[in-house]
Amino acid sequence: MTTVTTALAVVLTFAVLAALAAILLRDVLNAIIAFGAFSFGISVAWVLLAAPDVALTEAAVGAGITTVLFLVTIAKTVRPAGERLLETVEWRSVAVVAVLVGALLTTVRSLPAVGAADAPVATSRITEYYLQNAYPETGVENVVTAVLAAYRGFDTLGEATVVIAAGVAVVLVLRQEAYV
């Protein structure tokens, strides 16, 4: 397990560096490119944390679709003047963010360890119910899919409706320009 932890540490270091590059680069297109690199770190981190379905979503959305959507968006903007490479840092904002992050990090200690057997999610009666009854009741082999698509089917339907409405709205806005 320690080798996996080491690999996770390296991956998260990469993700932090790529995120810093995405924040600090002044030209928005450069920031988008750095953000594409950031999605790699997050995707591999999800794989190492044994969540391949989330990693698949991150790979599809982070590397591909987000980049294209960002590119379509910044086509309407102009590039910043001047040759400066990096954004100027507003140190007072950094101080506020640092205080907030420090406050939030103090709560991390009370979280259960990753994969701990006595974590509330592992011992809960609901978890047990889903694990035992998901397949007989719904016929779906993956429990996560069973919960999302069967037990919370109407919730997922509502989410899908919202996403489709947002997509239609975006296409309507973009079609007014010469992007068809």
């Binding site: 397990m1 080798t3 996996v4 080491t6 690999a7 390296v10 991956v11 270091t13 990469f14 560096l17 790529a18 590059a21 600090l24 680069l25 297109l29 450069n30 988008i32 490119i33 750095a34 594409g36 690199a37 790699f40 770190g41 995707s43 591999v44 794989v47 190492l48 044994a50 391949p52 990693a55 698949l56 790979a59 599809a60 590397a63 591909g64 679709i65 980049t67 294209v68 590119l71 379509v72 086509a75 309407k76 490479l85 973009l174 992007y179």
Partner: protein
């Protein structure tokens, strides 16, 4: 997720090495100097990602990770093409 044996350790070490290479490539993303230099670096990082995911699939004995690698490879290619097309004809992505 258990890691056992020399081979799995070697594969994980290779995966970590490829992630270290990606960390070095972040230098090229920041330094540039042109947009295309950054795209080349991100493209190399994306191919590194595919290799890392394949190595993890073998090391952790989870063949399902190969699907993620396939998706990542395809979308990495799409991203490179989209950005190079964008820099030539601004706004001509879709």
């Amino acid at each position: 997720m258990a890691v056992s044996g020399v081979v799995d350790t070697v594969l994980l070490a290779a995966a970590s090495a490829f992630v270290l290479f990606a960390i070095v490539l972040v230098y090229r993303i920041v330094a540039g100097p042109t947009m295309q230099d950054r795209v080349i670096a991100v493209n190399a990082i994306g191919t590194n990602a595919v290799v890392v995911l394949a190595l993890l699939a073998a090391a952790l004995d989870q063949p399902g990770f190969l699907d993620i690698a396939l998706v990542y490879g395809m979308l990495n290619f799409l991203m490179s093409i989209a950005i190079s097309k964008f820099t030539v004809e601004r706004g001509g992505v879709i």
